[in-house]
């Protein structure tokens, strides 16, 4: 399973590096979201600082939808979806590989976004380890849930509109917990921020387990 996951993640990332869709579309979209929110909130630095964690995670959430859609668009070539089913690759490995590729892209995106938040909103993180832990757990959850729902909608003609409708409500706990954990990391309130990791951790674990267990039947059914 792990070997297959490595294989699939490598393939997806290589394709992404070649096509540069994440670089030229997802990343600018996320940065634009931040800038537009900053415009909407006005120039007051205190309002921007207070909103920064929420805006950051909202941009990550929207980018997750794009990254997941792209992950399945890769498989849209003539017969590639069937090719993957016939490839002998463990479906759990496909799930883990796709989730790992999406997660890695999201982590890189978050680094860039955080630089944007620092520049635009003038925010400093006092507990970087807390912010990093929250980011890693949230990213695993976002990528896992995204890939599961992406598989559900992959073969549908309306997938571009259906995927956000399916996945955004499901990811709402990550938005909430991620933003609160980051607010704690920014203000230096450890007890306030660390408590939200108890939502992010189980969320990531549950969707990882569900994905590993159900990706095979999901792949056959859709």
């Amino acid at each position: 399973m792990w070997r297959d996951a490595w294989l699939v993640a490598g393939k997806d990332l290589r394709i992404e590096l070649r096509s540069r869709v994440a670089l030229w579309q997802v990343l600018p979209f996320a940065l634009l979201t931040l800038v537009l929110f900053a415009f909407a909130l006005g120039p007051g630095p205190s309002a921007l600082r207070a909103a920064a964690p929420g805006l950051f995670w909202l941009a990550v959430l929207f980018s997750t939808v794009l990254a997941v859609q792209r992950s399945y668009a890769i498989e849209d070539g003539e017969g590639t979806r069937d090719g993957l089913r016939l490839s002998g690759i463990d479906p759990a490995g496909i799930f883990l590989g796709k989730a790992a590729a999406v997660a890695l892209q999201l982590l890189v995106l978050q680094v860039v976004l955080w630089a944007g938040v620092t520049l635009l909103f003038g925010v400093r993180v006092r507990l970087p380890w807390l912010a990093a832990t929250a980011s890693v757990l949230a990213t695993i959850g976002l990528a896992s849930a995204g890939v599961i729902y992406g598989a559900l909608s992959a073969r549908l003609r309306v997938r571009e509109t259906l995927l956000p409708l399916l996945v955004l409500p499901v990811l709402a706990p990550v938005l909430l917990a991620g933003a609160r954990a980051w607010a704690g990391a920014i203000s230096g309130a450890l007890s306030e921020g660390a408590g939200w990791l108890r939502i992010l951790g189980p969320f990531a674990l549950v969707y990882l387990v569900v994905g590993v267990a159900l990706y095979g039947p999901l792949q056959e059914a859709t």
């Binding site: 394709i15 890769i74 017969g79 090719g83 089913r85 016939l86």
Partner: protein
Amino acid sequence: MSANAMAPAVLFRSAVALAGRFPALSGVDLTVDPGEIVVVLGPNGSGKTSLLRTCAGLLSVASGRAEVLGHDLRRERTEVRRVVGLLGHGVALYDELTARENVRFALRGYRLPPSLADPALERLGLVGRLARTEVGRLSAGQRRRAALALLVARAPALWLLDEPHTGLDADARVLLGGLVAEAAQGGGSVLFTSHEPELAEPLADRVVTMVGGRVGDERPGARVPPASVAVPAPGELARPLGGGPFDRGAEHRPEGDRMGSHVA
């Protein structure tokens, strides 16, 4: 060789297969023996592609008996998928990866050494820059050659070819005929569909005609018995391409968004 080596490559009895809720096969009776080459003819919508997809474990069998290489298609689809090779209408290659990367990726998925890719690609005339060109930039025929290279590298026990002549030039068609014959002589079986009987029948031991999702007619093919066939050596099979557009010395220039080729 597995314990299923002596089992028929394909054994269907009143097999009904579904594509979603739609009955794609409506009671197929068909046997393909090890080492046999069978061509499936029939009009559009007669079930030829569905037959191949069912054999590959991509369509679910609703009733009847359906076995591939001794594996029950209802219970052992994963095992079936590992031992068959399907070349469908789509080439199942990633446009952003090169032909070489595509074949190596697939071989790793099948737990086969990626080093098998290069000889197979060479066999199909995809050498040098062509093997290192992103598949999305290759012509339709070149993409089909890359997909065939994967089958050559894998050497599956059952080859399932859906209109394999489509998009191939004359040289590649000759090459395809050689590959099919060689697969059968190696003990593999080949089941392929065609809309071109004049090309398909000389390759086949048996010709099956499908009508309305079932086998309507069977007759012997026109294949020359294997004993009298001089099987070309691996290098020989690629030779008809020599001096042609796939020659090593050919200079390749972009033609629109496809990779064209011109002899220097």
